[in-house]
Amino acid sequence: MKNFSEKNYQKLVSQHEKSPWLKNIFWAFTVGGLICVLGEFILTYAKNMGLPKEDAGCVTSMTLIFFSGLFTGLGIFDKLAKHAGAGTIVPITGFANAVVSPAMEFKSEGFILGVGAKMFVVAGPVIVYGVSSSIICGLIYYLVKGGMPL
């Protein structure tokens, strides 16, 4: 083609790539905030039931993970996440969804090479880099403060 430049074309394409970012931010903030409020509610409830602070935190995470997995299985999570975006992905709910959804998807290839092998296909990087960065942070803390973080 004559008069065709990749650079100009990519500039033209970028004019058509407009995301409704204000709306996305609003919903991410609202839904993400509500999930955190729900977490605080569960935490306070668990503490009031007499659980120690750390156990109450575990109960909160487990409850949110359970509901996230359940709603993924029921086909509701992705419909909410479509609007909420980062609001559902960033809290622990997003992590649960990222594990449950491929487990469901790859069930057709069997429980070992399907569910087992593909379960962490989305969440795998989060685990790898989450654990790696926590080790690095721990090392830095150890070297700077000269002791184990408590």
Partner: protein
């Protein structure tokens, strides 16, 4: 006899005609603006099978048998089956042909495969290698999502430029004789890569290839857009269509007002939440083998161009940093 015109346009003197055609679509497509034009809706996507891949293969087999039936033929009478789809190793076409038992050539041209199969079929029939050739392609939203993107229930957001893979299949039987709409010319596309890397903007990756094939065809045949009742592109979607208009203007073709895109026709993007429109091999295949060919049979359209567009995208090489090559194949259909 030389059957070439200009740089790379093929001319078919025997005018292979569409002897029978059939379209099968999924639930969402059967609720869209073209719902009354399709032959069969499978409803829920499994189509009685236990996996999406098996369902897609059954889609293509059903469309193929439907087209053969409409042509008043049996599979034994078809001398060549040219089919393809989006899945790795072209499994939908391979497994559809397992039961059809027709000599088979598997094709891959991403979403451009319908036009690719029609060109190959026309060459086969026009070259007198057989009386009948079967051309079919398919795609399935669920099998494409899991291969190219994310699991279905994953809670991600799709950008406005993303397109919705059509669940559907279209098939037609080409014959050296017959009164159906005939394929008179074809232009085989070249791969055009404009450096687009966004996997969620296939329209932008394909528009330059569409423009290249289209202007080559006009130059080779010494015709202009106004010489055709309609020009149908495959699955550029809303954004790709706008970009193609812009590119054609840059190439001094002015405003082309008889250009429509199958990906824009098949869904109502506003109410069906399909963002930039439909995509996939099944998009152009199901629209051609229903809406377009039926309109031609009714003589509402007499002379059209059908140009299926493909983004030759692979998640593997895209992750290695490569851009997405586009391709577009064109055929001219005449009553």
């Amino acid at each position: 006899m030389n059957k070439r015109i200009g740089e790379r346009t093929l001319y078919f003197p025997s005018r292979p005609s569409v002897h029978g055609f059939y379209s099968v679509v999924g639930e969402k497509e059967s609720q869209g603006p073209l719902k009354d034009w399709f032959d069969l809706s499978i409803g829920e996507g499994h189509f009685g099978e236990d996996s999406w891949e098996k369902a897609e293969s059954k889609l293509m087999e059903t469309a193929a048998l439907g087209a053969i039936n409409r042509a008043g033929l049996t599979p034994e009478q078809i001398q060549c089956f040219l089919g393809g789809d989006l899945l790795n190793q072209c499994i939908s076409a391979n497994y559809a042909s397992r039961s059809l038992q027709i000599p088979f050539l598997g094709l891959y041209g991403a979403c451009s495969t319908m036009a690719e199969s029609l060109i190959a079929g026309s060459v086969f029939v026009d070259g007198s290698f057989g009386d009948y050739a079967l051309c079919a392609t398919s795609s399935h939203f669920c099998s494409a999502e899991r291969q190219f993107r994310f699991p279905l229930e994953y809670g991600g957001q799709r950008p406005p430029t993303a397109q919705w893979t059509v669940t559907g299949s279209g098939a037609c039987v080409l014959s050296s004789q017959g009164n159906g709409p005939s394929i008179t010319h074809a232009t085989i596309g070249k791969v055009v890569d404009a450096g687009i890397t966004d996997l969620n903007n296939m329209g932008a990756a394909m528009a330059p290839a569409a423009c290249d094939t289209l202007i080559t065809f006009f130059k080779d045949t010494k015709t202009a857009p106004k010489d055709y009742d309609m020009i149908f592109t495959g699955d550029l979607g809303e954004i790709g269509k706008k970009l193609l208009h812009q590119l054609l203007q840059d190439q001094n073709f002015g405003a082309v007002d008889n250009l429509e895109d199958c990906g824009c026709l098949i869904f109502d993007n506003e109410t069906q939440d399909t963002h930039a429109g439909g995509s996939g091999c099944g998009c152009s295949a199901s629209v051609l083998n229903s809406y377009i060919l039926k309109k031609m049979q009714k003589k509402e359209l007499k002379k059209i161009l059908f140009m299926a567009t493909g983004a030759l995208m692979s998640p593997t090489i895209s992750m290695q940093g490569e851009s997405i090559p586009g391709i577009a194949h064109l055929i001219q259909l005449e009553n």
